[in-house]
């Protein structure tokens, strides 16, 4: 933590960065994102197990951009997010100073995208055993049970779109749900519209989700949304060998193809 505060202070004092996006104390003993602009205030930065949020979501927000050149405290999901955003032309090399954080909480110096790519390459990107178990549980259910499980979960959905707000990859200025000519996704929170919204969200994130888990954390009614994106992430990897957030060159599963992609259901 001290090393982090020191680094943040250096960045602000030298003028390399004008705002540090990091974690600070929030309400109810939770960590929250803070935006430090004065060197003295770097004392507010913390780093512990509560600091899970994907801070990269702020990099594309207009309000944060107006604060000036950012530096960001970057755990693995944030690093992968930065690479994926770069691949999608939303960030350029040098736009943001990256304060890398290793899984053990140590600072890692990552001066450019190439360094981030190499670092991410050295870390395991698979799901944790707990996450795997959750996913398996659903996969092992019968089809009827799965339908019941998900319609049950989605029945609580309020269409608050907190999941969308918390995801760094939902940066479209006019989201598809805001389109009303034609109205693809019904606005009202009924079961069918909820199912359609979550299916669309998962498909739009296929091959882009870096498994930060923020969507599930943000959901006020505790729907396990990350399971949907994790399942597609697994499919993208097993079918096409691609993983999101590993390179700053665009290699998106749904805009590329191999002439011999395999499937077993097309007549």
């Amino acid at each position: 933590m001290d090393a982090l505060r020191k680094k943040a202070r250096e960045l602000l004092e030298s003028g390399d960065s004008e705002v540090i996006i990091g974690y600070g104390e929030g309400s109810g003993n939770r960590a929250r994102a803070i935006f430090v602009q004065k060197p003295e205030e770097t004392e507010r930065l913390i780093l512990d197990d509560r600091c899970e949020q994907n801070l990269a979501v702020y990099l594309l927000k207009r309000e944060v951009k107006s604060l000036g050149k950012p530096a960001i405290v970057a755990r693995l999901p944030v690093l992968r997010t930065i690479l994926q955003l770069a691949a999608e032309n939303q960030l350029s090399d040098g736009d943001v100073a990256v304060i890398g954080i290793s899984p053990d909480g140590e600072l890692v110096d990552l001066p450019d995208f190439k360094a981030i790519e190499e670092y991410v390459d050295s870390l395991p990107l698979e799901l944790s055993p707990e996450e795997q178990e959750q996913l398996e549980k659903i996969k092992n259910m019968s089809i009827e049970d799965r339908w019941r499980f998900w319609t049950d979960e989605f029945s609580r959905c309020l269409k608050c779109y907190a999941c969308r707000a918390s995801c760094p990859f939902c940066y479209c200025s006019t989201c598809v749900v805001e389109r009303n000519i034609p109205q693809w996704i019904p606005v009202a929170p009924h079961g069918q519209g909820n199912l359609e919204w979550h299916v669309v969200r998962a498909m739009h994130l296929a091959g882009r989700c870096v498994n930060c888990g923020d969507c599930a954390r943000a959901c006020p009614v505790d729907i396990p949304l990350n399971l949907l994106t994790q399942k597609l992430d697994e499919e993208v990897f097993s079918n096409f060998g691609l993983k999101a957030g590993t390179t700053s060159e665009l290699n998106y599963a749904l805009s590329t193809f191999k002439p011999d992609d395999q499937e077993n259901f097309i007549r």
Partner: protein, 144 residues
């Protein structure tokens, strides 16, 4: 009591399957009446949301059909479509959707007989599965 007849909506590409269905017609091969075709320039154009809308509109089954891989009039649209369906189908399955209601095929402009076969077998399969009431019921969940 009228026996249940499934409503099938088919999204087809103009250059292969639509032409193939034309050939079915020219050859006077009879097939089930349940299908309604929507013409699109290429399977690459078919957004997965269109399938969701078809079900929302009361379809009991959906067919998506286009050119064989390698033969796309626009060279690569069907390759992109294939990837899209691989992912979409696995997502539908994960969410508990019966993927026996969604069918994909490659039907070329010369395969008039195949189109009739595809339609007939899909209609039979979906008739067995019955009306897609689960999806229609969903429209009322959360509201009642």
């Amino acid at each position: 009591m009228a026996e249940f007849e499934p409503k099938i909506i088919a999204f087809v590409c103009n250059w292969c399957t639509y032409a193939g269905a034309d050939l079915t017609g020219t050859s006077r091969i009879k097939y089930a009446t349940n299908v309604r075709m929507i013409r699109l320039p290429c399977t690459g154009r078919i957004d997965f949301m269109l399938l969701l809308k078809a079900f929302a509109q009361g379809a009991d089954g959906v067919i998506v059909s286009g050119c064989h891989p390698g033969d796309c009039h626009y060279t690569a649209g069907n390759y992109h479509a294939r990837r899209r369906w691989i992912l979409f189908r696995s997502l539908l399955d994960f969410v508990g959707f019966d993927t026996r209601r969604v069918h994909f095929a490659w039907v070329s402009a010369a395969e008039g007989a195949k189109w009739a076969q595809v339609v007939n077998s899909v209609v039979n399969e979906v008739r067995e599965l019955g009306p897609f009431e689960d999806y229609q019921k969903l429209a009322r969940v959360g509201v009642e």
